[in-house]
Structures are given as structure tokens and as C-alpha cells.
Symmetry: C2
């Protein structure tokens, strides 16, 4: 039953040979990889304004300049990443580029930073998507919907997780429609608003409850600008996604990926600056009373609260929810790279029924759901933790590219080194700004987590390397043939389930079999002995006393004793195990088989032979 539910949910298994068919066209790839980057326009402008508002209404005007600064940064980083895509047609995420060019430690730092950021991407995007829905609800008079923000968020996480467990091609189809609907609706809104404003002048936003703008706020100085800039840098999250996913593109992979990246950044800069400009023009600001998003304020001011407003809110919500999908493409892939290089458990590199890295998908779903619950689906509270990881990865990856240009010296390496050098320097400066301005607001958590993750990677690595060394045949002596076999059959009494085990024991070690019984119930011991004489298949019975009613201790002592006696032999322990017909019947029997087997194998390193005794169904 569990199995048919799984089939219904994620579909039939796909054979390994179909693996190469799961590739993406440019149009589909833009939808799959760019929803994260594009959707950040839904909250990046608001994040800038939420900082500037602390300086009073005069400071709000700075948003345009800050927006343009972020736009420039975006273009520089995009140019830098085109180099990476060309150099790494098999996929060059921060981890691979940093590790290959700078060494293990920088690579692992980039990997840890990215894993954390992917989890945050899911949590932030889903929560922002829920905010778009609750803004719509508030405008249309269903403000109670706010109370279900966490539940809605968890539902969407479950939905995206299942879609990804089904496989990336199908998710491409599912996600293309909302991504393009969002792009279209935002571009149409910007164009229509600019034309209308030019003709009739901009209408200011009307708030049901006016937001509180401090009259004498914080000093409008460098610190405020830096903080606002740092807040807006969330617009850059997700643009590395394409470089990580080059092998998922149709051939020629690098060329298609590069073109898709350019398109994505072009759209992103246009939409981000457009929304920032419209917010400025119409006076849209974060409202701590209604919690209405800035995009929602602009949309309903431009189009009224009718169907077009609904379409914009719905498309925003959808792309935000689906932005999480970018992380679902990247997190499992990065985890599989780390796993392949023995820095994460090997379970992360095995492909599930549908050829996707199911364990990575499930881990991402779990941790992001946890964040949504902990932060109560409040994306504004999560933002200070966000973007740090991406900028660590940007800086390391581009520094790696500089090193690569200087070492490999391919055609055009001077130009490449310059581009990547500018990118690395700029992102490093931004990283310092982010760390300093966001530290006390939560960024310290990420800065503590990253080193812990790096240590975890290294501990796991040491374990796997140690195991591989010990299992290596190059140091193996020729195996010693087994000489004398001794069989000890553990019995819980004398009944029908014991007989096949005794017969097998006699056949395996004809001249050296003992049955062992632990006496837990002194009242019945004489009866057991009598019945053994009749039914014991001529196997001698040893009765062990157990004053403290323990099964394990007397058995272990006895086996130690036997082992001391037959130093040259191989002692096998035979366990007749009772197999119930139905799962719940396990609860009605002591799990002695399991406990004994664990103790014998793990503590004693003994060979254990389980002889099942299955009941017949009546």
C-alpha cells in the first residue's frame, strides 16, 4: 500500500538508460533556473525601502541610486559568470571552481555557504509568496488568511518537493507557465504605468492605515546607505544557478547556458529598476500595519483592485513559490558532488526511482520547512541571514577563476582574468558590507554554521578514506581457510520453531553443536529439560543461569568461554527467529532476535545465522 502511494505521488521508476534524455531547452531552462533570481524583485525593493524609511521620508529618495548600484553589480557578476560557464561545461558551481583552483578548504567553505543559502532560498521565497497571497487577501477583505501563513507555506514546500521527486523535465513544464506569466505581467505593469504616468501624472498610493514614517529618524549617512544596499543585494541571489546547472542544458551546453544567463540578467535588471522607480514615483513604502507588499501597493494603484491586480498578485505568488524550485535543482546536485567526493554521506549521490537525487530533495524540503515554522513564514525576519552565503560563494568562485586564467592561460586569459578580477573584488567588498551591516541582525548564525559544516565535511571525509584504506586489497593477506566449525544454537524453549534450526546446525557442524538456553524462569526449567530429552534432536542442551534476568550477559560470557576453548575454530551462532505474519504482531513479541544479533555482531564480531520460522496463514 505504501508502495502504490509512492507510485501515485512520484510516478513509475525510470530506467538508468533514459538518463541523458532529461535535458532542458533554453526556454524551459530559463523557467527552471531563473525563477529564484527573477522573483527576488518581489521583495528586493521593499527590503531597501524598509531600511531607508528609518531615515525618514527624505531618505526614501536614495532608493533609485541604490537600485542602480545593485543593477551595475548584477551586470558585473553576470559577465564574470559567463567566463565560468565557458570554462566549466560540465557544471561549475562555487564548490567545484573554488576547490579545483584554490584547494579543498575554500571549496568546502563555498559548498557550506551555498547549502545554507539554498535552504534559505526555499524558506524566503515560499514565505514571500505567501505574503503576496495574504496581501491580496487583505485588499479583498479576507485578512484572516494571514493566520494560516505557516500552513500555506508548508503546503507549498510539500508541493515543490513532490514535483522535484518526479523529475526535472516535468517540473520544467510545470514551472514555465508561471515564470513567463510573471515576467509578462511585471513588464506590462511597468510599461503601462510609465505611459500612464507620463500622460496623467502618477497617483500616490492610498493606504487603508497609513504607515508610520519617522519624522526625525536615523542620520542619513553612509551607514544607512550601506545597510539599504546590503538589503537590496538579495536581488543577486540565484544568478549563480545557471553556472551550476550547465550539464542540464541541451547541447551545446555552454552556449545555451550563457545565452540563458544574459537573458535572465537583462530581465532581472529591467524589472528590478522598473519596480524601484515606480515605488519611488507612487510613494509605495512598507506598511507595518497592513503588511501589504510594495508590489501589491503599486499594482493596485496602477490597475485598481480588479482582475489585472489579481493576475499580478497570483503570478508573483506563483513565481515566488516556484523560485524555491531553483534551489531544488541546485541543492541536491551540490550535495551529490560533495557526496561523490566523500564529504557528505554517500546516500546523497544515489539516484532515486525517477533518476533524481531524492535524498537531497528530501533534506532540502525538511530543513526549509523547519525554517518556515521557526520564523513563522516571516520572510523579512529571514532576510538578514540570506545572501551572505551567495556572496561568499561569488567571491571564492571568481577568485578561483582568476587563478585558473593565470595558470591555464587559455585564449583570451588576460581579458578573462580582468573580468573575473573585477567581479571577485567587487563581490568581496559587498561581502564585507553585508557581514558588517547584517551581523547583529542574524547573519552571525550563518557565520557560525558555515565553519561547523566545513568541520562536518572533513570528519565525514576522514571516515570514508579510513574505511577505504582498511578495505583495500593491496594490504590484504591471503585469506585463511576456515578450519574447525563450531555451532551454538540459541533456543528460547523447545517448540516447533526450534527444530529446523537444530537440523541446520547439525548439518553445518556435525561434530560440534550445542544448544543454549537462558534460564529466566526457574519454575519451568525441569519441564524444559524433560521435553528437550524427547525433542532435542540429540543436540546437547546447556542451561545458563541468569540471576538478574538478563538474556545478553550470560550468553556473551558463555560465547567468550567457548571461544577461548576453540581458538583455531570459527564459532557461528544460530538464531531461530520467529517471523510474524503482520507488522503489528511484532509489537507482541520481544525483539530478542534483533537485540541478540546486534550484540553478537557489533560487540563480538561473531557470524550470526538467522533461521526464520514463519507462521502459516489460517
Amino acid at each position: 500500500m505504501a508502495s502504490s502511494f509512492k507510485r501515485l505521488l512520484i510516478g513509475k521508476p525510470i530506467a538508468t538508460e533514459h538518463q541523458h534524455h532529461e535535458r532542458l531547452s533554453r526556454v524551459t531552462a530559463l523557467a527552471v533556473f531563473s525563477s529564484d533570481a527573477l522573483s527576488s524583485v518581489a521583495y528586493a525593493t521593499e527590503a531597501i525601502l524598509a531600511v531607508l524609511i528609518l531615515g525618514g521620508s527624505a531618505a526614501l529618495g536614495l532608493s533609485l541610486g541604490i537600485g542602480i548600484g545593485i543593477g551595475v553589480l548584477l551586470v558585473v557578476v553576470a559577465f564574470s559568470y559567463r567566463q565560468t560557464i565557458r570554462a566549466y561545461p560540465k557544471g561549475g558551481g562555487g564548490y567545484i571552481v573554488a576547490r579545483e583552483n584554490l584547494g579543498d578548504l575554500p571549496g568546502l567553505i563555498a559548498a557550506g555557504a551555498l547549502l545554507i543559502d539554498y535552504v534559505l532560498t526555499v524558506a524566503v521565497s515560499i514565505s514571500a509568496g505567501v505574503a503576496a497571497i495574504t496581501s491580496l487577501g487583505g485588499t479583498w477583505g479576507f485578512s484572516e488568511i494571514k493566520n494560516y501563513a505557516v500552513e500555506i507555506g508548508l503546503f507549498f514546500i510539500a508541493l515543490v518537493t513532490v514535483a522535484n521527486l518526479r523529475g526535472v523535465k516535468e517540473s520544467g513544464v510545470i514551472f514555465a507557465v508561471p515564470t513567463y506569466a510573471f515576467i509578462t505581467s511585471i513588464l506590462v505593469m511597468i510599461a503601462y504605468a510609465l505611459v500612464r504616468d507620463a500622460m496623467v501624472g502618477p497617483t500616490p498610493v492610498v493606504h487603508p492605515i497609513a504607515p508610520e514614517i519617522p519624522v526625525a529618524g536615523e542620520t542619513i549617512g553612509l551607514w544607512l546607505v550601506m545597510r539599504a544596499f546590503a538589503a537590496g543585494c538579495t536581488a543577486l541571489t540565484g544568478i549563480e544557478a545557471i553556472s551550476d546547472g550547465v550539464p542540464a542544458f541541451k547541447t551545446p551546453e555552454s552556449k545555451n547556458a550563457s545565452a540563458t544567463l544574459s537573458w535572465m540578467v537583462g530581465l532581472l535588471v529591467t524589472m528590478f529598476l522598473g519596480i524601484t522607480y515606480l515605488a519611488h514615483l507612487h510613494g509605495a513604502v512598507p506598511n507595518e500595519f497592513t503588511h501589504e507588499t510594495v508590489v501589491s501597493q503599486i499594482a493596485r494603484t496602477v490597475f485598481g483592485t480588479g482582475p489585472i491586480y489579481f493576475i499580478i498578485q497570483a503570478a508573483t505568488a506563483l513565481i515566488l513559490v516556484l523560485a524555491a524550485n531553483t534551489a531544488y535543482a541546485d541543492f541536491p546536485r551540490l550535495a551529490s558532488f560533495l557526496s561523490r567526493d566523500r564529504f557528505l554521506p554517500r546516500q546523497f549521490s544515489s539516484r532515486g526511482d525517477r533518476l533524481v537525487f531524492s535524498n537531497g530533495i528530501l533534506a532540502l524540503g525538511f530543513f526549509s520547512a523547519l525554517l518556515v515554522v521557526v520564523f513563522q513564514a516571516n520572510e523579512i525576519a529571514m532576510l538578514p541571514l540570506y545572501a551572505i552565503g551567495v556572496f561568499i560563494s561569488f567571491t571564492l568562485s571568481q577568485s578561483g577563476m582568476v587563478k585558473r586564467h593565470l595558470t591555464v592561460k587559455e585564449e583570451g586569459w588576460r581579458r578573462g582574468a580582468l573580468i573575473n578580477g573585477i567581479g571577485a573584488t567587487l563581490t568581496a567588498v559587498v561581502l564585507v558590507v553585508l557581514s558588517v551591516t547584517k551581523f547583529t541582525h542574524g547573519a552571525w548564525v550563518v557565520m557560525v554554521l558555515i565553519p561547523l559544516l566545513v568541520i562536518l565535511f572533513q570528519v565525514i571525509h576522514r571516515h570514508y578514506i579510513g574505511v577505504a584504506e582498511q578495505l583495500s586489497l593491496t594490504t590484504a593477506a591471503k585469506p585463511i581457510p576456515v578450519r574447525r566449525l563450531t555451532a551454538i544454537c540459541l533456543v528460547s524453549g523447545i517448540h516447533k520453531g526450534v527444530l529446523p534450526a537444530l537440523e541446520l546446525a547439525k548439518s553445518l557442524a556435525p561434530d560440534n553443536v550445542t544448544a543454549v538456553y537462558v534460564n529466566l524462569d526457574p519454575e519451568h526449567i525441569e519441564r524444559v529439560k524433560t521435553r528437550w530429552a524427547e525433542w532435542g534432536c540429540e543436540v546437547p542442551l546447556v542451561v545458563l543461569e541468569s540471576p538478574y534476568r538478563s538474556l545478553i550477559t550470560p550468553l556473551m560470557n558463555y560465547i567468550d568461554e567457548i571461544e577461548g576453548r576453540y581458538r583455531d575454530g570459527h564459532v557461528m551462532v544460530i538464531l531461530p527467529e520467529f517471523i510474524p505474519l503482520r507488522w503489528w504482531e511484532h509489537l507482541l513479541h520481544n525483539q530478542t532476535g534483533l537485540i541478540l544479533r546486534t550484540a553478537l555482531m557489533f560487540r563480538k564480531g561473531k557470524t550470526v545465522i538467522s533461521v526464520p520460522y514463519k507462521l502459516e496463514r489460517k
Copy 2:
């Protein structure tokens, strides 16, 4: 580490031979078995008043008459139970007496009813104990303590659970002091108040916020009286405890138990009527604003809010918390009886390290903690569910005694049958009153649960009887000696861990061994084959293809095939199993050993030989 924590918590194991030493003197037994019954005076009067108040202040005067009625009921039931103690020196709880005299079904109904009531005893007593503490806190100006009621309750449940896991004799010593402190302080309070009231006249209770007493309330009629009487019947819970625990007394068991029962009921009636009379005299009533208990109101009115008031509240809280202990003596014992008779999982009849029925103790702790959380430690809300079970048991047990007198005809059977007949009739009538008046207030839950429990008992019973029949040797054919042994060694590759398994396989089935490898990674298959030729110990290797990357399916198909080929033989599957050094290292390896073993044993009924390969510690 887990093991030394367990030692610290519950102490060293006790040997089976010390079992008979754990017996109780009368004085200790009164503390262990009567705290439940005695402590109910802390809430029984209040429960009566909480119903009567609905009829307005005029109805409150009825409390005296109702109290006397309950006192009479108590004495009748006590007389009835003395008969049971005499007839059942080995312990005659409702389950045993009903089952032995009336049959399985009445016995199981009594057992189910009692198990539920024991869980409620713990939850109600602990919650009422917490109420005594919060009343004290409120009077002394720490009213915030109310917000931690659930946490305090859970802490006390944990405490009592651990005390009982350590063993009953020690818990007797722990619990004697508070029980006698409670008895003394309540008796002193009653005596002092009566003398003082006679001399200077009773002072009425002063409420910080006056309780709301309806002016034109419900009609003062039979229905109100019946409901108040039903509420007061909670005073009877726990008086059956002694009859259930006769074997825990020092010899002569029956005589000591009978004397202890008389003392207990005498004390109970005195304290209950005393408190009810004082409540009437001083006008103490439940207060829905301050949530102060009636006992707290009387105590502070009589003694002021000084140290004596503190002692009374503390002793009340302690005995209520410890009243739970009665259930901890009875629930595990009843569960062990049911388990011995194969109506509950056998784990309930095995004694733990300290000779107590640990599983019963833990189950009781778990379910009562659950109730405290669900009802938010509000004992008033739980009371309607309470007492139903006890009265079902009273009625069935005393009916059983009547049957027994009529059948066995021991000396004085006519008198005995009369006493038990009166008891049975009276409790049956009360049971009907309880069921009718409390049904819609929550009693229906218990009435649904009891039949479900009875069905569960019967399902478990059928399973155990079925297993016993199938394992019975009386129907066993002479075992067939094993003829031809076939060994299949499953390998995950060729490495050092595989070699001992191959050697054992060759030695067990010299002429019939195959190694099987499932090809999950087509890229490496040639290398595996080459290495096998060199290191494979001359065992032939079979490579199975697996298009859907499943390990289980191709193996199972192969084993089916082999089995079809050697119909007369015994196919053994040999699993080389890798044993990590530390527990967390398990997470870094696929649990294929466990999965394969489960599939082979449970689905196929195959003999599985696990050959451990343990790493060396470096």
C-alpha cells in the same frame, strides 16, 4: 554512557532471588495504597459544590446530605471489599474476581475500565496537586505560577515514574512522610476549626474577587442532586487499590490488608465529611476567577495565610502528586496479569532490573503525561471522565463475589453474599447515575474506549493462542535432516571485507557456492570482474543487471530461480556486513545489510548468515 545514566536514575539491578523481600508493613502499605483514596478529599467536596452552585446559594446547603450519602456508600463498598480480600489472598482486583466468577468478557471489561481509570488517577491527582500549589502561589502573590501548570505536572509525573522504576519498597519510604503529614494536618485543621467555631463562631471566607453565584439558577431538583452526587463519587476512586495489592503485604497478607482497608476508609470518611462540613460552615465555594481550591479557602480562613496554611497546602500538593503512586502500584500489576493471561503484549509481564514491571510503569507515565498536556492540567475538566471505570469494576467485582459465595459456599457464605449483593446493587445504581449525568460532559469517551480496549485484548489473545498452537510439538512431524546445502554470497564489490565471507561459504557448502553482484554502476563492471578473477577465492561470480537501480528486485528473482533449480536443498544467503566503529558512522553507509536481511527472512523465509567485518580502531 546511556547505561550509567540508567544506573544513576533507577539504581543497580536486583537479583531474582531477592524478590520476596519487597513486602510492605501496614504503616507503609497505608501510605503506598491509600494516597489515591485519601487525597480525593482535596477535590471531592469542591466537585459537589461546583455542581450545586448552579442552583444558586440555596442549593449549597444540600452538600451536607450528599456528603453523608457518599460516606455511607464508602462504608458499604469497604465492607464488600473486605470479603474480597479474605477470598483472594493472592490479590483480587476487579479483573481477577470478575473473570474467575463471571467469565472472560466481564473480566476484560473490568480490566479495560480499570486501566483507563488508573491513567486518569495519575492525570487528575497530579493536576489537582498542581492546583494546590498554584492556589498557594495566588494567595502569596505569585499568580504567574499558573502559567506553568502543565510543566510542573509533567515534572511530577517524571518524578513518580522514576521513583517507581526504582522499586516499591523504596517508594513506600518516600511516600509515607507526606501521606501522614497530610492526614495529620487535615485532621488537626478540622479539630481546631470545630473547637474555634464552637467558641467564637465561624468566620466566612473572604474572596479577593467574589465568585459569581447565580441568583435564579437551575431548578433545585433530583437532577441537580444526582449530578452533585455523581461529582462527589470521585471520593471513592482508589479504595479498591488494597484488594488488588494483597500479595504486597507482609504475612499474614489478608489480615494486614483488611485492617489497612478499614483504617483507610475510616480516615477517608472523617476527612471528607469534615471538609464538607467546614466548607458549608465557612461558605467556601469554587471561585472561577481566582481558581483557588476550596481546601485552600478553608485553611487560610481558619489559620490565616501564615506557616500553618503553607503546611496544609504543601501536604495537600504532595499527597496529590503522590496519589498518582497508587496507580503506579496497580496499573503495572493489572497489566502483568493481563499479559500473563495473553491479553496484553508479553513485555508487560517481564520484570525489569529492579524487579518491577517497568513497561507498565512507563506506559502509565506516557499516557497520563499525554492527558495532562491535552487537558492543560485542568483536573476539573477531567473529572467527568473519572470514576466511571472504577464503578464498572466495583459492580462487576462484587457481582462476581456474590456468584462465588453461591457456588463455593464457604463458611458464612450467606452473610457474605448479602454484603456483596448490597454492594453490587448500590454500585450498579451509582454507575447508572454516573453514566447518565456525566455522559455528555465527557464520560462517553470512556464508554467508547472500554469496548475498544476489550476488542484489543481479544485480538492479542487470538494471536498468542494461534502462535502457541502452531509452535506446539504435539502436531510436529519428525524434522527432516538437511540434505543439500547451497550457499549464495552477496557481494557489494571486491574488497577485504568480502574475503572471510567467501571462505566461510566455501567451507559450509564446498561444492555449491556462488557469489552474486548487482550491477548498479555499468561504468565499473569490467574492473570488478578483473579484480574478482584475482581475488575471488575461486568462487564463481554471477553479475545481475538492474535497469531501475534496485538492489532487492534482481536478487530476489535470482534466489527464486536458484530455489527452483535445487528443490531438495537448503539455500543459505551469506551477507558480509560492514560494522562501523561508532554509532554515527552508520549514517554514512547505506543500510543495505538490514534491508536485504529483512527482505530475505520476512518475504522469502530464507536462512541468512551475517558475516561481520569490523574495522580496526586506529
